[in-house]
Amino acid sequence: MALSGIQIYKMLPQTNCKECGFPTCLAFAMKLAAKQVELSACPYVSDESKKQLAESAAPPIRLVTLKASSEIKAGNEVVMFRHEKTFYNKPGLFIRVKASDPDLAKKVATADAYKVNYVGMDFTIDGFAVEADGELAAAIKTIRTVSKRPLILMTKDTTLLDSALSLLAGESALIYAAESSDYEPLADLAKKHKAALAVKADSLDTLADLTQKIQAKGLEDMVLDLGGKNMSEWLARSTQVRKLAIKSNLRALGYPVIAFPCDAKDEGIAAAQAIAKYAGFVVLSEFKPELLYPLLVLRENIYTDPQKPIQVQPGIYEINSPKPDSAVLVTTNFSITYFSVANEVEGSGLPAWLVVTDAEGMSVLTAWAAGKFDAERIAKSIKSFDVASKVSRKRIVLPGHVAVLSGELEEELPDWEIRVGPREAVDLPAFMKQALN
């Protein structure tokens, strides 16, 4: 639990010697509470206070990083609901494979190469969960010829794990999973290879006992498997763990959670729940782009800071090398809006000038309703980006949703022809071909 400035002050020497650069210990304590200075700036703090302060500064949910050539982080979350602040670390999406699968290399290569673009961002999967139903080390070698992403190793067999993990030196893998009956050798192995360890139990009580015992052995990076017989039980446990960690400051459950929608009745639905409700790692049964893409988009949506819409820079964008007589299209600087239009036009191969107005990152209708996308603002953009100097044909196409603006815009820009385009961007290419000649 974060300490207040006063609580921190009580742990300082209270001599006001000023060596930290602040006039009083209290002033320094306030800065510490706001996390604007480092404790090390005071040379006189006792070891006891140092320990207490370090503990209080630790995040309520431990940050666990799985790492290979790329890395994926989970934990460090501070709120129950995204509107309270934001959710920070997007849950990693892992594809489950079997070590014995004769097509292993091909399957991993295909999933590894997957890349899909959503509003200008490239999304990929985060790693693989390898079920050790055969020679694990051999499978790891095969996987490492085609993918360098982080791995989850699914077995309790310490001999298999030891040889597999030896191949992954310098990486942080996740071992799945230790239970009360068998945690000791697995914890030792995780320590030896600097791996994280997933822990599993039937109740939160047992789970908390287990993490404490493992922590006592000196292993810090753990991930919780909450089990649960159906969606409601999993949701209850996941909510309880999150609340216990961030509200009750229960360190024993302050770890990220791993979910296995691959075992659920409806994988897509279970994965969506896991993403929305606090999972740190999500294991999917196989590589299916028709499910992966919506899940990646959902993850992006849930983890986007609700206070800041994603925006693009206002300006004039050239699509498919436009010429002076190419079409001039007008839109707003909300990322989703810009990319809906830009991707559509780009895909059609038709050249166009895309004028992106500063609408404070709002969609066409939202901006229009908020008064941020009106004739005056559009005219201002056309003038300030000096569109007239680039084109020979003074004609602007408005989004169909704001057809009502055309009259006013004609008044603002008397020497321009104003055209109303279709409502949805999907219909733009056809409109450009048929109506813009």
Partner: protein, 314 residues
């Protein structure tokens, strides 16, 4: 290590709202549907039991739509040309309620005829939406309201610019209303106040916070719903209404659902992706507190229904 599970103790609760009336209740429905009544955040059964589960409405149109995805046309086939048939198929597909969306092409006589035929084609309670233009909405909804007195239909969609006529006719004829505001907690409260100030009982209002599709603004709707539900549980009377959302309408507008060809390879199989788009949009909203979920594709209905069963299981 015995762990004490932290429980929120809320002072507020959501009103229970009943849609549709059986013959004993003054209507003709085979059964009525009650939503709401919660006293905790969604599906946290360890805090409080959930008195009524969320329900699914299937959206049909008064005349065959020409701008719906071919995937939807495949799913419903010939029935799309006959609202009564369509409603019947929707009932077979697992709907708890039917939404009939009217169009600008309907005359008041057409509209009344369609609603009557749907009422005889299905025993489910109805929600009726005007075409979305204030004058036309009023022109169609008033005669429907009068012709179906006592059926406890939900009439919509009331917005801040157009709610008076719809609310007045709903009150006069024993119906309910759907109150829509654009993703804003305060606007929701305000519209609910305006509607109840007219004398409408709060047990007859469904609140529609507006939603966006996956990838197209769902994050705003998701958070507004969570905030509305939290406000209600904290005791704010003007947010203590069940929520209705329209993921079917939103998801089937997107390119991801509409278009099968010339799209990125990474989008995968068209049909599966389109249904996932609708289903996952719906699930996110179910998780954030939706009470009535309006869908379009029968496969999504099946999946969301089965998820709700799992979520309400204790």
């Amino acid at each position: 290590m015995p762990i004490e599970i932290p429980k929120d103790k809320w002072t507020g609760s959501i009103r229970a709202v009943t849609i549709g009336a059986t013959s004993a209740e003054g209507g003709t429905r085979a059964k009525s549907i009650t939503v709401g009544g919660q006293t905790s955040m969604p599906y946290l059964h360890y805090e409080a039991p959930m008195p009524n589960k969320p329900v699914i409405a299937i959206e049909i149109k008064s005349r065959k739509p020409d701008d719906w995805s071919p995937l939807l046309a495949d799913a419903w086939g010939e029935a799309m040309a006959d609202p009564a048939q369509w409603a019947k198929k929707a009932e077979e597909a697992g709907a708890d309620l039917i939404v009939v969306a009217l169009t600008l092409a309907d005359s008041p006589e057409d509209a009344v005829r369609v609603i009557k035929s749907v009422l005889s084609g299905t025993g489910l309670p109805l929600i009726v939406w005007g075409p979305g233009q204030a004058e036309k909405d009023n022109e169609l909804l008033v005669p429907i309201s009068e012709a179906t007195k006592g059926e406890k239909i939900v009439l919509g969609i009331c917005e801040d610019k157009n709610y008076r006529t719809i609310v007045a006719t709903a009150m006069a004829n024993g119906h309910l209303v759907q109150a829509r505001t654009p993703m804003d907690v305060n606007l929701s409260k305000q519209l609910n106040i305006l509607i109840s100030d007219m004398g409408m009982s709060k047990d007859r209002i469904l609140m529609d916070p507006t939603t966006g599709a996956l990838g197209y603004g769902i994050e705003y709707g998701y958070s507004v719903m969570e905030r509305l539900r939290l406000a209600a549980l904290q005791g704010d009377a003007m947010t203590q209404l069940p929520m209705i959302v329209t993921p079917g309408f939103e998801a089937w507008k997107t390119k991801e659902s509409k278009v099968g060809e010339g799209v990125p390879e990474g989008w995968g199989d068209w049909k599966a992706r389109a249904i996932n788009w609708e289903t996952l949009t719906a699930i996110a909203l179910v998780e954030s507190g939706a009470d009535v979920v309006v869908l379009r594709h029968p496969e999504s209905v099946k999946r969301v229904k089965s998820a709700i069963e799992e979520l309400v299981a204790v």
